[in-house]
Amino acid sequence: MDYLLTEEQLMIRDLAAQIAREKILPVRAELDEKEEFPWEIVRVMADADLFGLYIPEEYGGMGMNSLENCIAIEQLSRACIAVSVTFAASGLGAYPILIFGNEDQKKKYLPRIAKGQSLAAFGLTEPNAGSDAGGIQTTAVKDGNSYILNGTKQWITNGGEAEIYTIIAMTDKTRGARGASAFILEKGTPGFKFGKKEKKMGIRASATRELIFEDCRIPAENLLSKEGMGFILAMKTLDKTRPGIAAQGVGLAQGAIDEAIAYARTRIQFGKPIISQQAIQHMIADMVTQTEAARALLYAVCKYMDSNPKNISKESAMIKLFATDTAMKVTTDAVQIMGGYGYMRDYPLEKMMRDAKILQIYEGTNQIQRNVIGLELIKEYAGKKEKISV
Amino acid sequence: MALLVCKEKCTGCGVCAQTCPFDAIDIVNGTAVIKASCNLCGACIEVCEFEALQMEQIEAPVSDLSTYRGVWIFAEQRGGVLSSVAMELLNEGRKLADRLGVSLSAVLLGHEISAQASILVAHGADRVLFVDDPALKDFNDDAYTAVLADLIRKERPEIVLSGATAIGRSFIPKVAARLGTGLTADCTALDVDPGKRLLLQTRPAWGGNILATILCPSRRPQMATVRHKVFKRADQDERRKGEIERRGLNGISLDLKSQVIRTVEEIENTVNITEADIIVSGGRGVASKENFAVIEDLARALGGAVGASRGAVDAEWISYAHQVGQTGKTVCPKLYIACGISGAVQHLAGMQSSEVIVAVNKDPDAPIFKAATYGIVGDLFEIVPLMTRRLKEMLEGTK
């Protein structure tokens, strides 16, 4: 369907699709098999000016916004979401600096990220704090002109490969949710180490590691915004980046659909291609309709988000939820359509199904997303006096 | 000079528009209209069943062209040894010279290699023009261009043939440009029209999808290059007689703009495919670099060389040195076994003159089967190792 994208958006779409087709597709199986970080593709994306899409021009970026970023992520995801999450997670690490950083911090870190010279990462999750983000135990204690960090972050995407990290740590345990703060931290800082690389079901080319802080001293000017702003910063960041995960879902689903339909057209059983069977046609019809609905909602949410409304939590949660559930269903159905070939590792579908699962889990589980939507609706309807109000 | 549409005969059927390789014909109000992108190739004239298309007449050859006589071949040497293509050119050159009733000369540039000149006579040259100078010992495009162009200006041959080798491609176009004459590269067939004294130069184009016959009607000499192994070598006959004219540079200004610092030979560990009598080739069906071992095993068992289609080389499963086809090497072995190769025209252009062609492919409709002497529809990963095994068993048996 034609979404009447602008010329620039079409340029981004075509360039990202070209990278997916020419650079990611040929190597995705090998990267997955070897669990190898896609550095070469990172360089290609950097040279193509993709890392800076959403970063303002004054910091070396392209000065565009969420829709353009999501268009790029969607196309990359058609080939492999391990590569697209490497790309998207760098955005996750950069957004806190973009939204809450002071001029010095933005000037220091954003240009490097925009040029793809340094990857970024975001550290919130801990062994005891996943959905319950409020339960984090990493501490940041003020000491003269520095903060000293102690604790562990778990399952951090780009962990160990990124150079720039935004970390949420407790500066004041007594203040509960208002006691967390956000910090910028660079790889190589003494006391900042990485744990082992995790072995995952899917997105195996993406690097997932523990971050370990042992009396890690960082300068006070690395504090983002003010003390106590940590969780607000985290929530606002996640609101911004959830569409990126949705874009992964839409792209992944599309990739699975393309493979499944190509197969169904050539697989002859009972004397004809299986696509002439109603059962297959119905499955494909549902897959394509759901994916198109996800795409349409994604672009609508992005456009809305780019108009800077006060609160986008509900819409952002909705699209993350819908697109990722769609991706899981579509990839599962695509494996089914391909039958035995869908299950074999020589063919790309089983990887797509393995990859899809994480989309429902990270960046807020889909259960948490439903909580967010529910709570937002309660607030929203509390304010409505009439039926059919606009 | 233009392509003319006879409006009375044109029915606007549009076949010409579909055929035009340059998208230069539109059908407007039921008549063909020729656009600016027309390249005057004449493909449309062939297909118009109403004879509504016509080329303005080609100019008659300039009269003094008839003073150009003789067929020449450029005898390439490297390291003081004649390259095989020289003998192939002598074979074809002999036929052309005989039909035109003129002599066949070979041009040899080098230093102190008169023995090579005798070999040229033994292979059919009536005359060898041997320019002997230290400056010509090794190939230099400026020096060779200056000398050959000068010789041609003085002696006025009507046809000059050379090998489409690295050396040939490097300097023959420069000779043609210097003389302001036409050159057709990579010819796969040559013929003459003795009446008009025209050389008919046939070569593939569009990646081998079409063949074109080219003429050079109004300039001389008519120049063409031919790839190694397109023509068969002339027989060697020591009894043949011919003149060997030894010349010097005679004050030709060489104006050397380049200099060879070093020559590096790279001999492949498998037999050089252009010389091989047996070639086993792999294409996209081989599916990976590791799988090429299957092809190599069969080649080894047969004592042959390994070839590849462009698809396999582009996928980086094997190096370009093994590529057979329009943009790779031309081969004509006794036996060519194509495994997992679909048979795209540009590949066929490189191996179609093989004596026996065997095709192994999963797809029964693959075009390679039309060009094959023997075809096996099947899985190459089954057939090829089986062949290797059976051949080894045979060889063990005969020991």
Binding site: - | Q18, A43, S170, A185, Q326, L335
Partner: protein
Amino acid sequence: MNIVVCIKQVPDVSDVRINPETHTLIREGVPSIINPFDMYAIEEGIRLRERFGGKVTVLTMGPPQAEAALRDAVSMGADDAVLLSDRAFAGSDTLATSYTLSMAIRKFGSLDVVICGKQAIDGDTAQVGPEIAENLQWGFAAYVRKIEDIADGSIRLERLMDDGYDILNVRLPAVITVVKEINRPRLPSLKGKMQAKKMAIPVWTAEQIGADPERVGLKGSPTKVWKIFTPEFKRKGERIEGEPRAQVDRLISEIRRLGIV
């Protein structure tokens, strides 16, 4: 360094089909692309600029739609582009084409290197590069697979030969043709694409480059296409049927019978 890269817009010949009835090319729907070998030339030009500084201009002789190829080259990183287009150029063979390109190259003023791809995939002649060098009387190297250095008014490079390669020193200014081994062409960048879209590309005519009308187009083309036909590959075409073992045995016995093995 002032660099000009000569490119050609060609039909994607791998996509071409033959009409089974008329045995002619079906040109409809075949996309136009930059001649694949020219991509390596553009890339090498950009790399030389990155190494030695200077400017890369892409030049093409073609119909008005060839402009799209120039813009694609700019999106890869070429600085400037010129389109040579004129009805007078129609029907050019390699001699006329190289003459026309040489006249345009002269118009650029002081240049260091002209880079061409090894051959165009439609004409497949590999003649235009060396003929340009001859017209300009510049240094020349064909089938360059590596540029080692540019210093002291000359370029040191590796030239592919049939059995290996030569290391050559060529005086500047020089024309070189390049092969695929020389580099890996980059993808366009977003900034490049945007710049390419905005760029005004001048069109030079025969008059503007001072071309002699007798030497361009059909008049300037000594070679003429007499006819075009599709190749026919006629073979015995015997299908060997049966189980793999039987097929292999049959094949081996045939090639033994023919005396090949």
